[in-house]
């Protein structure tokens, strides 16, 4: 018979010098001798011990020297004794996963600075002490919601403790120290899973050791490998927080000072711009400009005068040339009667009084005799 599986309890275990292992596999009403040859034993991965429940895979043969039927093991697995429970667990996981309880979009991020930290665990457990040690001096209210974390009724107790924190915490740590698969089993319950899922604040699960995974871990917003790690995730590092405050102070001071400096520089610059010297040089410039304008104005004025004067002189000359004065000064006179200029003797009567305009002065004369035109000599 080849490639069959046998389940039972291990007894009479002998690890022989040759490297072969001999034992008896038995259950309530039967037993069979088994051998695990050295070459097959290399892949075993755990220590065989009397009393272990195991599942053996191998071939059945006969040990001829003694005429004994034996099972020649090719592989051995620990039988957790939870075959059925295991199937149930897988079914639950599948159901919850299908409902979306594990899905990433339901995962909430943890608050950076929680004010109220809820802890669901046993008040007597080492896990609580680990968590409190890590939270240390971080200023938060710690609300313990006691739960029974193993044994009969543990799942109900944990679920109730989680629900009791409703509205009372900013973050919840559900934790338990290490234990057997059996001990941790309550964290695989649907009750606990739903309570965690429905919790109104983010939940960190930390059940057992790093290698233990429970349904609670899948539903929780964050899974921590250990209670200590869970506490580290829940609160910020207080030293970092302190240095953050110091940094903020330094940055504020620096930017305030640099702002002041910048303004001082600007003020300094503006002050330079309107300094007395600068103002003086500005007025000096204006004054010079005024002077030059004045000079140019004066020059233009006198030039204009000279031009006018010379024009006047010219006009005078030309006037003199065409006017009567020059003629009169050569001995001519202008004769006027009350009717106007006298150009002909015919214009006047004998005895009439006429006005003579000479080069210098005037005379009133009386006409003694009126002679004909032809008698006058030019």
């Amino acid at each position: 018979m080849h490639d069959l599986w046998a389940r039972g309890e291990l007894s009479n275990y002998v690890h022989h010098r040759s490297g072969h292992r001999y034992f008896t596999l038995k259950d309530r009403d039967s037993q069979i001798s088994c051998v695990l040859f050295r070459n097959d034993g290399v892949r075993l991965g755990f220590e065989l011990k009397d009393g272990q429940n195991v599942i053996v895979y191998g071939d059945v043969g006969v040990y001829r020297p003694q005429g004994r039927v034996q099972l020649m093991a090719k592989g051995i697995r620990l039988d957790e004794g939870i075959g059925l429970r295991h199937l149930q667990l897988e079914a639950l996981k599948k159901k919850l996963a299908d409902e979306g309880l594990f899905s990433i979009e339901h995962k909430r991020s943890l608050p950076k600075y929680p004010e109220r930290i809820g802890i669901v665990t046993s008040p007597q457990g080492a896990a609580l002490r680990d968590v409190l040690r890590i939270i240390g001096p971080y200023p938060a209210r710690i609300i313990l919601s006691p739960a029974q974390v193993q044994g009969e009724g543990a799942a109900e107790s944990i679920a109730m403790a989680v629900r009791a924190l409703q509205g009372r915490a900013d973050v919840v740590i559900v934790c338990r120290g290490g234990g057997s698969t059996e001990d941790l089993w309550c964290f695989n319950s649907e009750l606990v899973a739903r309570a965690i899922f429905e919790c109104d604040s983010p939940v960190i699960s930390a059940v057992g050791h790093e290698t233990d995974f429970t349904v609670a871990d899948f539903v929780a917003d964050v899974r921590a490998p250990t209670p200590t790690a869970a506490a580290e995730m829940a609160v910020p590092d207080i030293e970092k927080l302190r240095s953050l405050l110091v940094q903020a102070t330094v940055r504020m001071k620096r930017s305030l000072w640099s702002g002041l400096e910048r303004r001082e520089e600007r003020l300094e610059y503006l002050k330079r711009c309107i300094s007395a010297q600068k103002m003086y040089s500005l007025t000096e410039e204006a004054r010079q400009r005024l002077d030059s304008l004045e000079r140019r104005l004066c020059a233009a004025e006198s030039e204009r005068r000279t031009a006018l004067e010379s024009r006047l002189e010219q006009a005078e000359g030309r006037l003199a040339a065409v006017g009567p004065l020059a003629t009169l000064s050569r001995g001519y006179a202008i004769v006027r009667s009350p009717r106007g200029l006298v150009l002909s003797s015919e214009d006047v009567q004998q005895g009439e009084v006429l006005e003579l305009i000479l080069a210098k002065g005037r005379l009133l004369v009386s006409v003694v005799e009126n002679k004909a035109v032809e008698e006058v000599y030019h």
Binding site: E115, P123, L144, L245, R251
Partner: protein, 69 residues
């Protein structure tokens, strides 16, 4: 809400915003001084919260086991 009741998270968020506003330097001097004053008050408040913290542990049901602090 009195200053004592301000949550650490809020105070730190406010502080961060104030530091950034001061650093980008677009505010008037008056406003900068106000911000600075406010920021320093927040720093003081946070420090006080950290230094004077007495851890308060309470239990929702039953007595706390002795020696938890």
């Amino acid at each position: 809400m009195s200053e004592k009741d301000v949550r650490l998270e809020e105070a730190l968020d406010d502080l961060e915003r104030i530091v950034e506003e001061l650093e980008n330097g677009k505010k008037s001097l008056e406003e900068c001084l106000d911000l600075y004053e406010k920021g320093m008050r927040l720093v003081k408040h946070c420090h006080a919260r950290l230094e004077n913290a007495k851890r308060k542990i309470e239990s929702l049901t039953g007595e706390l086991p002795p020696g938890l602090d």
